[in-house]
Structures are given as structure tokens and as C-alpha cells.
Amino acid sequence: MSVVMKHHLFWPLCVLAALLLFNLCYSPDFFSITVHDGHLYGSLIDILNFGAPLILVAIGMTLVVATKGIDLSVGSIVAISGAIACLSISRGADQNSMGLILTSVLLAAGLSLMLGAWNGLLVSGAGIQPIIATLILMVAGRGIAQLITGGQIITVTSTKYAYIGSGSLAALPFSIFVVALVLVIALLLTRRTALGLFIESVGCNPAASKMSGIRAHLVILAVYVFCGLCAGIAGLLLSSNVSSADGNNAGLWYELDAILAVVIGGTSLNGGRFYLTGTVIGALIIQTLTTTIYMIGVPPEITLVVKACVVLAVCLIQSDTFRAAVAARWKSRHYPAEKEMSRHVS
């Protein structure tokens, strides 16, 4: 039992299960999935579908956090990627031509790669604190997205582009497959090759890992590039789901949700350890929470208050000092000698 409890997925899965259970009690048909025109419909499918962009961004963020970094610019990259894709499609003569869609998607992906590389270069090349380095793109990126869309919402009428975010493959939303693909690639790269170890060692101690022959700069650069790409794909999913790009609001607050998902998933913000599966569960928890709040009819704005409490609770549980304080309170007996000891030890 204690082995199960010690597993890093134990608490996140418990929270997710509790949330789902609550939903089941509240509305009995929560788990029901109906087939309509060969597509599956249901609350669970919705959670997966709407949660897809967040999971993607959070996967990229996990690796960045693992190197003791943070990427605040993901929300802006989401907006830029959606904006550039929609702009290039709306300029095309035939919005449904496969070539145009592919070029636009590649353009957006390439641009988000470049933006990720920019962040990576600032962090690894110029040695700027990650939070500050990515702040630049967070501020300027929103402006760039608005510049691309002209401050308005670009609407596209391409059924093929809409397929990416709202189409379905084998009765499941297509976006789930995109997320699964990225997740599998990330898992294979980090857990089947030494790359994951490199990332963790750079997160623990960049100088020491450099001494032992790891190209720390390259690892950090790669991680930010990957994070940028993930955010870019998330932007494609988001914009194609609604067939429009909104430079002002697309991806707003995404960085915060993504960081929250990473933290809930058990990855410490101090770097050196990461759990991709935990992050996915964390993102699903956030999405389920949002859905739950919508469903029980609480004004959606209160989501923020709930999220704040969740962030705080998760962080307090992660804090050693807090756990020690609580544990000391729960212990029924105190021995004077022990108290004396602990004072000297600490």
C-alpha cells in the first residue's frame, strides 16, 4: 500500500477520481457517451477535447520546468501561431486546398519553433533568468499577435483546417491523437533515451552537468524550442476549433494554467525531476475542474478563486516547512529532549 501511495501519480489521480466522482453524484449521466453520426459525444470526450491544447502546452512546460526554468511566453505563442495560420489561410484563393493548409500549419509551427529558440537563446546563450527572458516575449508576443490579426478576429471558412481542432478520427476527436502523438514522442525521447536524464541533471546543477560532459546550453535551448513548438501546435488546435484567430484573447492566462498543471503533476518548480504523465493528469484535473464549475452552475468567473485555492493547497503540500509544521501539530506527545534536539539540528 505504501508503495502505491508513494507513487508520484497517486495524489493527482486521487484528486481526478474525486472530481469525477463528484460529477457522477451531481449528474448521473456524466459518464454516458453517445454515438451520433459516428462521433462519440459526452462530457468525458469534451474534457479530453477542450483540454487538448492545455495538455500540449503543459507537456512543453514540464520539460522547461525540469531544467529549473519557466516559460511565461506560451500564451503569446499560442496566439501568434493561431493568428499566422489563420492569416495565411484567409489570404489563400481556395481556403480548402490541402497545399495551403499544410503551408499554413508548417508556417505556424516554424514560427513557434523560432520563438521558442529565441527564448532558449536568451536563457542559455545570454544567461538571463528564465522568468525575465520569457517575460519579454510574453509582453511583445501579445503585441505581435495583435499586429498579425490587425487587432481583430480573423475568421476562416476552411473545413479542412477546422478538422485539426474539431474533426474526428475513428469516432474520437482528432485533437486527442495530436496530443497522444506529442506525448508519446516526448515520453520516448525522455525515457527511452538519455535525454531525460540530461534534462534532469541540468535542472539539478547546470555547472556540474557541464563538467560531466553534458552540453547544458544545448539541452536548455532544445527544451525551450520544444516548449515553443508545443505551444504553437496548441495554438493551431485552439484556432482551428473555432475557425478563427483572436490576437487579443487567444491563449490568455495559458502560461498560468500550464504551470499549475505541471505543479499538480508533481514536478517541482526547483527543477531536476519531471513527470510527463503527472502533467497530463494535472491538465485533466484543471479541465475537469473548469467543466465541473460550469456544470454545477457556479458563475464561471469563480473558477479563478477555486484555482487560486488549488494552487495554494498544492504548493503548501509540496513545501517541506509546511508539512513539518503540520506534522509537529499532529504529533500527540512531545518530549522535551526531542524538542531540544530538533532545535539544534535545525
Partner: protein, 322 residues
């Protein structure tokens, strides 16, 4: 003339402000007037007040992401109490200030006593304050209280036909008090010491816990005051007021030459950082054809330049030490 290296960033900031203002004056007719200069203060009074609080937080080596939300919450609380409950402003304003200070204190205490990164705690604070706004109301509450309209409309005449608003005067006072606090009081020296190295400050016997918590209290108080001033400016309370404001504030502090790792910087630099942001906006509005998103891009660029500059300067200082 040999300039002390520690003054370089702030001198660059001030020069940049002068250059931008001069360039604007040559380019646009009507730009070069005392009123345009005063309007920088009038329109950015709340940014200035928030940025002063943020300077202390950043000088101590922390960060406060909750400022924008606390401003929104202050406007919301003032509006609902004054407008819907009919409380007198003389009670509401101190109450709002107290609320901001307590909010900051709680965040500071969590940051210090549970050793959680300031980034995360203030992020939670940001969610919480923004959410509380919506708990109060999701609509705009317009204020037509005579005191608030009087505060909004009063113009303090200055020689040369220009004027200042009461908010701008409050902001200038805050800056003056902050400069005194930062450089001439024990608390200010503690903040600098804490930002330089927390461990050294602790070993030196400085009250690290008190200083750290007080810094966030101060930032909360400043944000609440900025919220009050913002209420004078907008004459309404709304949950979406000042969205993304924390970044403008951090940008102002950084452009003002304060090092984000803490311990280095001046409140006066923040003052000019705010003025630079104001000048960018004024130039964009004078240009007429440029859209507002250029502000963000230019501020991003400036941030980049200043961070690189700081990086170069601090690395040179390190090599000199070695």
C-alpha cells in the same frame, strides 16, 4: 568625469527618456509643452504608485504578480461599497488600503514561512483577487459619488497654463516617500541587503522575516492605493480593470534599471521607467496611424535591451571582482 558604474543603468534610463521626449517634440507640433509632460504623470499615476511598490519587492529579490488584480479588486470594493451600500468614501478608502496591505501581508507570510517561491504565491494571489472581483459583481459598477467625481475633475493649476490632477500629486508624494524610505531608513537598507543576499542578511542579524513580509505588505498597500487612484481615473469598478498590469509594472521597474535578481536599483529609475512607457504611448497617439499594440512591441524591445545591458554590466562587475 568618471561615472560610478552603479549609476549607468539609471543614467541610461533618464537619457532615453530625454531622447524620446526630444524626438517627439521635433516630430510632432504641440508635443513640446509642459502639459504633455504633466499628462504623463496624470495618465500614469496608478502605474507609478504600483511600480513604486513593485520596486521594493524586486529590490528584495522577489516578484509580485498580484498587483493588477489587487487594483481591480480595490476598484470593485470601493465601487460596491460607495455606490451600492452607500458608505461614505472617508470610510471606504482606508478600508480598501487596509485590505490591500493585509492581502500583501498574507502573501508575504506564506512566501517566507513556508518557503514557497514568490512567483507561485503571488500567482495564486492574482487568481484569488481577480476571482473575488467577480464574486462581487461581473458587471461594471459606475460611481457617481460627489467625492469621487470631485477627485476626478479637480485640476491643480501650474504656472504656464498646465495642470496636474490630484492623483498625479498623490503619485509624486508616494515617489518622494519611497525614495526617502529606500535610501534613508533602516527598512530600506534591509531591503537592499535582503536582495543582495538573503543568507548574508540573515547572518548579519537583519530582521529578514519582518523585512520580507513588510515588502509584500508595502506592495499590497501601493496596489490598493493605485486602485483608489484608478477609481478616480475611471470612475467605475470592474473586474477586468488593469488586466496584464503586473507586466507593465515589472517592465517599468526593469526599464528603470532595477536588477531583477534584487539588491540593485533606484526608485527614481522606476519613476523614469514609468515616464518612458508614458512617452511611448503619447508618441503612438500623436502618430495617429500606429496602433496600440505597437506599445507592447516597443516595450518588449526596450525590456530586451535593458536586460541585456544589465547582463553585460553585471557580468563585467563579476569579472572585475575576480
Amino acid at each position: 568625469m568618471s561615472l560610478n558604474r552603479k549609476y549607468i543603468p539609471i543614467v541610461v534610463t533618464i537619457l532615453l527618456f530625454i531622447v524620446m521626449f526630444t524626438a517627439g517634440s521635433f516630430r510632432y507640433t504641440g508635443f513640446f509643452s509642459l502639459q504633455v509632460l504633466m499628462n504623463l504623470l496624470v495618465d500614469n499615476a496608478f502605474l507609478l504608485i504600483t511600480a513604486v511598490g513593485m520596486s521594493f519587492v524586486i529590490l528584495s529579490g522577489g516578484i509580485d504578480l498580484s498587483v493588477g488584480s489587487v487594483i481591480a479588486l480595490s476598484t470593485m470594493v470601493s465601487a460596491s461599497l460607495v455606490q451600492q451600500q452607500g458608505w461614505p468614501p472617508a470610510v471606504v478608502i482606508p478600508l480598501v488600503l487596509l485590505m490591500g496591505a493585509v492581502f500583501g501581508t498574507i502573501m508575504g507570510a506564506i512566501i517566507h514561512y513556508f518557503a514557497i517561491q514568490p512567483f507561485i504565491v503571488t500567482l495564486a494571489g492574482m487568481f484569488l483577487a481577480r476571482g473575488l472581483c467577480y464574486v462581487i459583481s461581473i458587471d461594471t459598477i459606475t460611481i457617481d459619488n460627489t467625492f469621487y467625481t470631485a477627485m476626478a475633475q479637480t485640476r491643480i493649476p501650474l504656472p504656464g497654463g498646465s495642470f496636474l490632477s490630484i492623483s498625479a500629486v498623490i503619485a509624486i508624494l508616494v515617489v518622494a516617500v519611497a525614495i526617502f524610505t529606500a535610501h534613508y531608513t533602516r527598512f530600506g537598507r534591509n531591503v537592499y541587503a535582503l536582495g543582495g543576499s538573503e543568507q548574508s542578511a540573515l547572518l548579519m542579524g537583519l530582521p529578514v522575516a519582518r523585512t520580507k513580509v513588510l515588502v509584500y505588505t508595502l506592495s499590497g498597500l501601493c496596489s490598493a492605493l493605485a486602485g483608489v487612484v484608478f477609481t478616480f481615473y475611471m470612475l467605475s469598478g470592474y473586474g477586468l480593470h488593469a488586466v496584464g498590469f503586473e507586466l507593465d509594472t515589472i517592465a517599468a521597474v526593469v526599464i528603470g534599471g532595477t536588477l531583477l535578481t534584487g539588491g540593485v536599483g533606484y526608485v527614481l529609475g522606476t519613476f523614469f521607467g514609468v515616464l518612458i512607457q508614458g512617452v511611448i504611448q503619447t508618441i503612438i497617439s500623436f502618430e495617429g496611424t500606429l496602433s496600440s499594440w505597437w506599445t507592447k512591441i516597443v516595450i518588449g524591445l526596450l525590456l530586451f535591451i535593458f536586460i541585456l545591458l544589465q547582463r553585460v554590466l553585471s557580468s563585467r562587475r563579476l569579472t572585475l571582482k575576480e
